[in-house]
C-alpha cells in the first residue's frame, strides 16, 4: 500500500519536484530568519487587532525611533556573537558616551569635536577589550563584564547626576523631524537614520568582505580557522572593535534623542541586545546567523514594548518576561534546525 502510494510521487512533475526541493533546502537554511520575520509579523498584527491605534503607520516608524540605540549595539553584538564571543560592555559604553559627551558639550566643546572623539573612544575601548580577550586569553564574558563595570564607573565619576545637553546642534538633530515620503502623517528624526545605515554597512561587511566571512569561520571552529591560515587574531579583535564603535555610535544617538547624559542610561541593554540577536536567529555559540535577523529581533522587542504601552495597565516588566520567553523559544528552534542539519 505504502509502495503504491509513493510510486506516483516519484513520477511527480520533475520541474515541480526541483522547485519543491529548492524551496525546502532554502527554507531550512534560512529557517531561523524566516521564523523571526514571521513572529514579528504575527506580533505586529496581533497588536494591531488588540489596540487599533497601533495600526497607524507611524507606530511602525516609532519602532525605529525608539530602538535606534538598541539596533546599533545589537548589530555590533551580532558580529561578536557570530565570531563566538560576547560583549557585555555595550550598555556601559552607552552610558559612558552619553555622560562624557554631555560633560564635554557643557564645557563648550564643539559637537564636531565631541562626536568623532566619542567614536574614537568606542574604537579604542573595543580594541582594548578584544586585545585583552585574544592576547591574555581572558574569557570574553569576564573581560567585557569588567569593561561594563569600568565604563559605567567612569560615567559616574564624570557626573553622579544627569547632565542636560543644551548644545544647539544636538537640539537641531533631536528635534528636526523628517516626513516619510508617500505616507501621510509619518516622520522620523535625523538620528533615526543612523541605525538603518549601519545595518546596510553591516550586511556588506558580513556577506561581502573577507572580514565577515572569517567571522563565520571562526565562530564555527576557531582551531580550523587558524589552521586554514585565516587572520584569527586580527578578525577577533576587529569584531570587538566594531562592537565598541557601534556602542559609541549608539551612545551618541541616545544622547541626542534624550538630550542628556547619565550613568544610569541603558542599564541592562547588553542583555536586550543579546536577546535581540538570538531572536534574530544568530546561534549563541557562533558560526551561524544573519545580521538582517537582528533587525527583526529588535523589531520584535520594540513591538512587545509598544503593545504594553498601548495597553497602559500592564507593568513594563512584562517586556522582559515576553523577551525572555521568546528568546528561550528561539534557542529551542535553533537546536532543532541545528539538529536537522546535522542529521538530515
Amino acid at each position: 500500500m505504502a509502495q503504491e502510494m509513493s510510486q506516483p510521487r516519484a513520477n511527480f512533475n520533475p520541474a515541480l519536484a526541483n522547485v519543491m526541493q529548492w524551496l525546502r533546502a532554502n527554507v531550512v537554511r534560512n529557517g531561523p530568519l524566516l521564523t523571526t520575520i514571521l513572529i514579528f509579523a504575527v506580533a505586529y498584527v496581533v497588536g494591531g487587532q488588540l489596540y487599533p491605534a497601533m495600526q497607524k503607520p507611524q507606530v511602525f516608524f516609532n519602532l525605529f525611533i525608539n530602538n535606534g540605540s538598541l539596533l546599533l549595539v545589537s548589530i555590533g553584538m551580532t558580529f561578536v556573537i557570530l565570531m563566538g564571543g560576547i560583549d557585555l560592555s555595550v550598555g556601559g559604553m552607552i552610558a559612558l558616551t552619553t555622560t562624557a559627551s554631555a560633560a564635554l558639550l557643557k564645557m563648550g566643546v564643539s559637537p564636531f569635536v565631541v562626536i568623532p572623539l566619542m567614536l574614537v573612544m568606542g574604537v579604542v575601548f573595543g580594541f582594548t577589550q578584544g586585545s585583552v580577550i585574544h592576547f591574555l586569553k581572558v574569557q570574553p564574558f569576564i573581560a567585557t563584564l569588567m569593561g561594563l563595570f569600568f565604563a559605567r564607573g567612569v560615567a559616574y565619576i564624570i557626573s553622579l547626576s544627569s547632565i542636560t545637553i543644551t548644545d544647539s546642534f544636538y537640539k537641531t538633530l533631536a528635534l528636526t523631524s523628517l516626513p516619510i515620503p508617500f505616507i501621510a502623517n509619518t516622520y522620523i528624526y535625523i538620528p533615526t537614520l543612523v541605525a538603518p545605515i549601519m545595518l546596510l554597512v553591516a550586511v556588506y561587511l558580513a556577506f561581502f568582505t573577507r572580514f565577515g566571512r572569517t567571522l563565520y569561520a571562526i565562530g564555527n571552529n576557531e582551531q580550523s580557522a587558524l589552521l586554514m591560515g585565516l587572520p584569527v587574531a586580527r578578525t577577533k579583535i576587529l569584531s570587538y572593535t566594531f562592537s565598541g564603535f557601534c556602542s559609541a555610535l549608539a551612545g551618541i544617538v541616545f544622547s541626542i534623542s534624550l538630550l542628556a547624559g547619565y550613568g544610569q542610561f541603558a542599564t541592562g541593554m547588553e542583555l536586550d541586545a543579546i536577546a535581540s540577536v538570538v531572536m534574530g536567529g544568530t546561534l549563541l555559540t557562533g558560526g551561524a546567523g544573519n545580521v538582517v535577523g537582528t533587525l527583526f529581533g529588535v523589531l520584535i522587542y520594540g513591538t512587545i514594548v509598544s503593545i504594553l504601552q498601548f495597553n497602559g495597565t500592564l507593568s513594563s516588566w512584562w517586556t522582559r518576561i515576553g523577551v525572555g520567553v521568546l528568546t528561550l523559544i528561539f534557542i529551542g528552534i535553533q537546536s532543532l534546525f541545528y539538529f536537522r542539519k546535522k542529521h538530515g
Binding site: 561581502f208 568582505t209 566571512r213 569561520a217 586554514m228 591560515g229
Partner: protein, 504 residues
C-alpha cells in the same frame, strides 16, 4: 635510483622536548611524483617530523632542503607559501560555510570592493574538478560526507599554495572502503602531476596498495627507508615493533596457559558487533576467568572494540550479549551496572584525577554506582582504600597522598583499584602498562592473572605483543579495524605478528 631528484631532503633532524627526545638524527627524503608512507607506532616521531616540516615545531639541529635549496620553515603559514600543504586527520574546515568559501577563504576574489561570489564559486568548482569532483559548491560543507570534506580540504591546500608537497595525516581513518578508493584515485592523479605525497596511516593494507616507498621510524629514530616492493609486510611490522625477523624465528615459543575450553556460556558475547567507520562487524566471546588478549598495531581497532564493549559508543550493527541478556542501551553507566568496567588508555586524560587523593580516586567509581546521595562514611572509605593499596601494592605513604605525586605505575594501579572496588565481573584494560617501568609492568601482569583466577573475565589490550602472549589464554588479532585472527592456547609471537601484518 638517484635519477629522480628529491623534492625535500631533511637531514639529521633532531628535536628534543623537555624530558624526551622526539627525533634523533632523522633523515627523510621525498621525491617528485611519489607517495611516501611514513610508518611507526605511537611515539615513533612521525608527527614531530611532520610538524618540523610544516613549521609547527623548529628542529634543534638538522637541515631541510626544498628542491635543492636550504630552507627554514618558520610557521605553518610559511610552509604553505613554500608549497607544503597538510591535510589533517580531522577535517580542519568550517562546516557552516559553503564549500566554495572553505576552498577560497583567505583569498576570496574581490570586485568593486566586495567579494565576487560568482568568480569564487567558479574557482572553487575548477579546483574540485581537478580532483574529478563535481558538487554544488554553494552549499554548506556540512551537507557533504566526510570523504567529500576531505577532498575539499585537499582542494583547498592545492589551491592555496600551488602545492608541491601534500602531507596526508591519517586521511583514511574515518573513511569507508569506497571513500578510501576515491581518495586513492585523487592521490594517484596528483602523483601523476608530479606532487610528492607524504602518507601517514596505520592501515598496512593501504600502504601496500598505494605507497611507493616507506620510511619507518621507531622511538624517534630512523629505522630506514625502503621501496614497498622490497619490504615484505612481516618485515615492516618487525621494523615498526623493533624486532628482527630472524631473531624471532630463533626465539623459543612463548607458551600461554591453555585452559580447558569451558562448555559454559560466555560472559560476554558479541555477534557481528560493528560501528561504521570505527570497527567492522566482529565476533567475540569472553568466558569467566579468562584473559582475552587484543593484539594489533596502533589504530587497528583495539580501542574502538573496547569502547563498543563498554558502551562508550553504540554499535550500528550486530548484537552484544552480556550474561545472557542482550544489551539494548549502550552507555558506560549501564555497562557498570552490568558489571563491566573499562580502564581507558590515556590515564592522564581519562583516568585519574591528579588533584584528588588516592582514597578519593578509588572511591569515585564506587560512589558513582551507589548514587551521589548515599553517603559512604569516611571510615569505610579508608578501609576500602587501604585494602586496595595493600592488594595492589600501591607504594604511597598514606591513602591521603595526592595521586599526581605518584609514579605512573602507581597511578595505573589506583585506576585499577577504582574499578576493582566496584567489583566488576568483566574488566577491560586498554594499555594498562603503557609508560610505566618494567617492574611495575610485571606487577600489573601478575595482578591481571590473579584477577582471572578469581573468576573475573579480562580483556587485555596492549601494544606489547610479549605481554599479550604471556598473560592471555586467547588472543584476538585486529587489523585495519577488523578481526584478523583468533588464537587459543599456545601460539608463538611470529604467528601473531603475521596476523597483525596480514600475511598469514
Amino acid at each position: 635510483m638517484a635519477a629522480v631528484p628529491n623534492l625535500v631532503t631533511m637531514k639529521g633532524i633532531t628535536k628534543a622536548f623537555p624530558g624526551v627526545v622526539a627525533l634523533e638524527d632523522v633523515d627523510f627524503a621525498l621525491r617528485r611524483g611519489e607517495i611516501h608512507a611514513l610508518m611507526g607506532e605511537n611515539g615513533a616521531g612521525k608527527s614531530t617530523l611532520i610538524k618540523v616540516l610544516t613549521g609547527v615545531e623548529h628542529p634543534d639541529s638538522g637541515s631541510i632542503e626544498l628542491e635543492g635549496k636550504p630552507i627554514q620553515v618558520r610557521s605553518p603559514l610559511h610552509s604553505q607559501e613554500l608549497g607544503i600543504s597538510t591535510v589533517y586527520q580531522e577535517v580542519n574546515l568550517c562546516t557552516n560555510i559553503s564549500v566554495a568559501e572553505n576552498i577560497m577563504l583567505g583569498r576570496e576574489p574581490y570586485r568593486f570592493g566586495s567579494i565576487d561570489w560568482k568568480t569564487m564559486n567558479r574557482s572553487a568548482k575548477t579546483a574540485l574538478k581537478r580532483l574529478d569532483i563535481e558538487i554544488d559548491v554553494s552549499r554548506p560543507l556540512a551537507e557533504y560526507s566526510l570523504a567529500i570534506q576531505q577532498m575539499v580540504a585537499i582542494a583547498r591546500s592545492l589551491e592555496i599554495s600551488g602545492a608541491k608537497i601534500l602531507i596526508l595525516d591519517e586521511p583514511t581513518s574515518s573513511l569507508d572502503a569506497n571513500e578510501t578508493a576515491l581518495l586513492f584515485d585523487v592521490m594517484r592523479k596528483l602523483k601523476g602531476e608530479g606532487l610528492g605525497i607524504v602518507f601517514i596511516t596505520h592501515f598496512l593494507e593501504q600502504v601496500y596498495r598505494i605507497a611507493d616507498r616507506i620510511t619507518v621510524l621507531r622511538n624517534g629514530k630512523l629505522v630506514g627507508t625502503y621501496d614497498v616492493a622490497s619490504l615484505p609486510r612481516l618485515e615492516l611490522v618487525a621494523k615498526m615493533l623493533g624486532r628482527s625477523v630472524t631473531e624471532l624465528d630463533a626465539m623459543s615459543q612463548v607458551k600461554t596457559q591453555a585452559e580447558q575450553t569451558q562448555a559454559v556460556k560466555p560472559v560476554v558475547q558479541a555477534n557481528a558487533l560493528g560501528l561504521h567507520g570505527a570497527l567492522e562487524p566482529l565476533d567475540l566471546e569472553l568466558h569467566r576467568g579468562e584473559v582475552l588478549g587484543l593484539a594489533g598495531l596502533l589504530g587497528s581497532g583495539r580501542t574502538e572494540t573496547a569502547n563498543l564493549l563498554f558502551g562508550v559508543d553504540a554499535p550500528d550493527s550486530g548484537t552484544l550479549v552480556v550474561k545472557d541478556e542482550a544489551v539494548k542501551k549502550f552507555s558506560p553507566n549501564e555497562s557498570l551496572k552490568r558489571g563491566i568496567a573499562l580502564c581507558p588508555e590515556d590515564r592522564k586524560a581519562e583516568g585519574v584525577v591528579g588533584e584528588l587523593t588516592i582514597r578519593e580516586n578509588i572511591i569515585l567509581a564506587l560512589q558513582a554506582r551507589y548514587g551521589w546521595f548515599k553517603f559512604l562514611d569516611k571510615q569505610k572509605q579508608y578501609t576500602i582504600a587501604q585494602e586496595y593499596i595493600q592488594l595492589l601494592g600501591i607504594v604511597a605513604p598514606s591513602p591521603d597522598q595526592l595521586v599526581k605525586n605518584l609514579s605512573g605505575g602507581n597511578q595505573q594501579k589506583v585506576i585499577l583499584a577504582r574499578w576493582l572496588a566496584t567489583n566488576p565481573d568483566v574488566l577491560i584494560l586498554d594499555e594498562p602498562t603503557r609508560g610505566i617501568d618494567v617492574g611495575a609492568k610485571a606487577e600489573i601482569q601478575k595482578l591481571v592473572l590473579q584477577l582471572a583466577a578469581q573468576n573475573k573475565s579480562i580483556v587485555f589490550i596492549s601494544s606489547e605483543l610479549e605481554e599479550v602472549l604471556r598473560i592471555s589464554q586467547r588472543i584476538v588479532v585486529l587489523r585495519d579495524h577488523k578481526k584478523a585472527a583468533e588464537f587459543t592456547g599456545t601460539v608463538d609471537d611470529q604467528t601473531v605478528m603475521h596476523a597483525m601484518a596480514g600475511t598469514v
